[in-house]
């Protein structure tokens, strides 16, 4: 076994242990501290930023487990995304370094606020405006939506524009002029773990302007790419976990004097679900590998889009069938399928819907057509 495989095995073993005890639960604040102790919060940060310097493959191996165990979590929202932005800030930047330390230690909760409208993918110029200058100080105005993180963040990394150039700034949630509006709560913490942010003349110190121009743009692109791979893996985990639970159920649930898993229609549909899970697994692993080998190359985005779309579709397909195969029990909250299903919908809709990502593959086709 080579070094990377050993590392992956260690990571997945430790994830199984941690999550086996927390199956079908939501992350608690003591869980976050435990993850800090396990070094998980440091995984996505480069070594010179105090992190473990791991890439999409390792991060995804971990998030896949979150999905498999039905574990509601903020890992991508409050570890992966902020870490990948901070990774682009020079290591000697004091504000950046301070945020890295707080992230790794779990003492502060960070979040990334980039999106302003549904359907955006991250390459748009932000509408939020940063005005003023370094001497007298900056002001931030505007709004962000679909900001992820169930636990309230203490610091936001916010994408904005300054004189037509993209920038990335750090904003404290307690700063005057910052308003946080949660999405309507109906089911539970992780099902409403998204919010809107409103900035009204928020004062920003010069030092909090972390990235400018091309560096800001590239950092956001890279962070979203890594997050999408991790999310695809989490979705495949959801599909695999839900399928395994369902397979166990149909082996034992008896009707007409036999396990319902013995009926041929059920057997065959289960096989189709297994194929859907295998396709999903191959798609995210491929995307992660390609990203490692070609980090930052925009030509890699089709792989990532294919994976996000495939994994979301497979998760939804498995969860729908799982409800059906559980019969009326599947419709109860207690049975646990609902949890997987909500996670599948939520993770499917976040960071680009399947249809939106398929359109990227479609663009590949259009390029082929224009050369024909």
């Amino acid at each position: 076994m080579n070094e990377q495989q050993e590392l992956l095995t260690m990571l997945t073993d430790s994830a199984s242990k941690f999550l086996g005890a927390r199956s079908h639960q939501d992350q608690s604040s003591s869980d976050w501290t435990a993850m800090a102790d396990l070094g998980w919060l440091a995984l996505p940060l480069p070594e010179d930023h105090g992190g473990a310097g791991l890439g999409a493959e390792e991060i995804a191996a971990l998030t896949r487990h979150f999905g498999y165990y039905g574990y509601g979590n903020d890992y991508i929202a409050q570890a992966v995304l902020p870490a990948r932005i901070l990774a682009a800030v020079p290591a000697d930047n004091a504000d950046g370094a301070g945020l890295c330390e707080q992230l790794i230690g779990g003492s502060a909760r960070l979040g990334l606020a980039w999106q302003e409208h549904a359907g955006e993918l991250g390459d748009e110029m932000p509408g939020c405006q940063l005005t003023g200058d370094a001497l007298k100080g900056y002001q931030l105005n505007g709004a962000k939506c679909f900001v992820a993180g169930a636990t309230p963040a203490s610091h936001w990394l916010v994408s904005a524009q300054q004189s037509g150039e993209p920038v990335m700034i750090a904003v404290e949630s307690t700063a005057p002029g910052v308003a946080v509006k949660s999405l309507a709560s109906s089911e539970g913490r992780f099902d409403d773990g998204f919010c809107e942010l409103h900035f009204e003349n928020v004062a920003i110190d010069a030092g909090k302007l972390l990235l400018k121009g091309e560096r800001a743009r590239l950092a956001l692109g890279e962070a979203l790419a890594t997050a999408r791979i991790a999310l695809a893996a989490e979705l495949e985990g959801i599909a695999a976990g839900c399928l395994d639970q369902t397979a166990e159920f149909i082996k034992t649930r008896k009707q007409f004097n036999q396990p319902i898993g013995a009926f041929q229609v059920i057997r065959h549909r289960s096989v189709d679900l297994k194929i859907a899970v295998r396709l999903a697994a191959s798609s995210w692993r491929r995307a992660a590998r390609q990203w490692r080998e070609n980090a930052g190359d925009p030509d890699q985005t089709p792989w990532i889009s294919a994976a996000k779309a495939r994994c979301a579709d497979s998760a939804l397909k498995v969860c729908k069938e799982a409800i059906q195969m559980h019969g009326a029990m599947g419709f109860t909250e207690e049975a646990g399928i609902g949890r997987y299903m909500r996670a599948a919908i939520r993770c499917g809709a976040w960071l680009g819907s399947p249809a939106r990502h398929r359109r990227i593959l479609l663009n590949q086709l259009h390029q082929e057509f224009s050369h024909a």
């Binding site: 397979a247 036999q258 041929q264 065959h268 289960s270 697994a281 191959s282 398929r358 057509f369 024909a372």
Partner: protein, 391 residues
């Protein structure tokens, strides 16, 4: 027996070099007029053309990539066999049915007598004998073990009576290997034997069956008191089922080869262009979904091939490949009919824009995949048991 171990060991070559050599040789030696194209995306070679091509491969040392070198093959590792196939697919080398190389040869290597090996294997390689597979019968398809063509041992020969069906290219073959019933026991699998039959023997009648693609490739073979030497028995008497079930080589993987789907999708893209539909959002989105399915399928295929290359083992799960890709091929072939609209009124060749294709042929030729080599219903049943689901 021709031992090619004195010839160069292709496994020793770096993959890139092996690929480049084979690619260059193919480009020089594979006739352009036999390449797959939009008109015949799944073209198959048979008869004199097939024999000529196999002879050419043999002459230049590219025959039997999966046979051990001690038996005259190339002895390629799985990884290099994959490259070999990729290059055939890339150039559009027509599909071939070479049961001698893929099925019977490996069977004889494992179960045959020294005489059988030394007689038949060289003749296979030299394209002197061409072998058809006689398994299915009118009443024994998926339930192959119920077969009833019987072979009665009468001193130094068997007398064979019965009928085989779906025997591909039997009318162009010299020999047939068949599963025949030699006994009746409690379990139907127990009384089956594996027999080698010369198709020139008196009492054999071969009748090609016209298929819905308009070709005469599959045949019925009738046996009327056909005498077969006892020495043509492979393995022990009544051991035939075990021999046939011994999954040989990498068939499970090759049945999942995405080549046909790739050609069908290339045709699909061409049809979208030629019908002026590149701006039609609905059609392009349908095409994009098929494109995504093939894109992701190729990742899965590569992962499973990697597993095989590294572990040397093929899991039962590999059957998923055949199930998925044969159904994907059908979906693409249906899309091709759908996007072509009135052009599909023509049953033969039609010219759509600048592209000549045969819409009915490509659609019909996608149908058998879900039926042969273990129909997808049976495959799903086996895969379900593999998931631990009860019967």
């Amino acid at each position: 027996m021709p031992d090619t171990s004195h010839q160069r060991d292709f496994n020793a070559l770096p993959n890139d070099e092996f690929r480049a050599q084979f690619r260059s040789w193919l480009e020089q030696h594979y006739p352009k007029q036999w390449r797959q194209d939009h008109r015949r995306p799944f073209l198959r070679l048979h008869g004199p053309q097939l024999r000529q091509w196999l002879k050419t491969l043999h002459q230049h040392g590219w025959r039997a990539p999966d046979w051990p070198r001690e038996y005259g093959g190339m002895g390629l590792s799985f990884g290099k066999q994959l490259i070999y196939k990729e290059e055939l697919n890339r150039l559009g080398v027509a599909r071939i049915v070479d049961n001698g190389e893929t099925q019977l040869g490996p069977t004889l290597m494992r179960y045959g007598t020294a005489e059988q090996k030394s007689y038949y294997l060289p003749r296979m390689l030299a394209s002197l004998d061409h072998w058809a597979q006689g398994y299915s019968e009118p009443n024994s398809g998926s339930d192959l073990a119920s077969l009833s063509t019987r072979a009665e041992l009468n001193g130094d020969h068997f007398v064979v009576n019965g009928q085989k069906i779906w025997t591909t290219f039997a009318h162009e073959c010299s020999h047939l290997y068949a599963l025949v019933r030699t006994g009746r026991f409690e379990k139907k699998q127990q009384g089956i034997s594996f027999l080698l039959i010369d198709l020139n023997s008196p009492g054999i009648t071969i009748r090609p069956i016209t298929n819905i693609a308009g070709d005469d490739e599959i045949c019925e073979v009738f046996f009327d008191d056909v005498k077969v030497p006892a020495g043509n028995l492979v393995g022990e008497l009544h051991q035939g089922w075990t021999i046939a079930k011994a999954l040989l080589g990498h068939e499970r993987i090759w049945l999942g080869d995405p080549a046909m789907a790739i050609r069908a999708l290339a045709l699909a893209k061409q049809l979208v262009i030629e019908t002026g539909n590149t701006g039609n959002a609905v059609i392009v989105e349908q095409l994009a979904a098929l494109h995504a399915d093939l894109f992701d399928y190729q990742s899965l295929y590569a992962d499973i091939c990697d597993e095989v290359a590294h572990t040397g083992a093929i899991s039962a799960d590999a059957s998923m490949l055949k199930v998925y890709v044969t159904e994907l091929l059908q979906r693409i072939s249906e899309f091709n009919i759908s996007v072509a609209e009135e052009h599909a009124l023509a049953g033969g060749d039609s010219k759509i824009g600048n592209t000549v294709t045969n819409l009915h042929w490509q659609f019909m030729m996608a149908r058998p995949g879900t039926i042969y080599a273990g129909c997808n219903e049976v495959q799903r049943d086996i895969l379900a048991s593999g998931m631990g689901l009860p019967r």
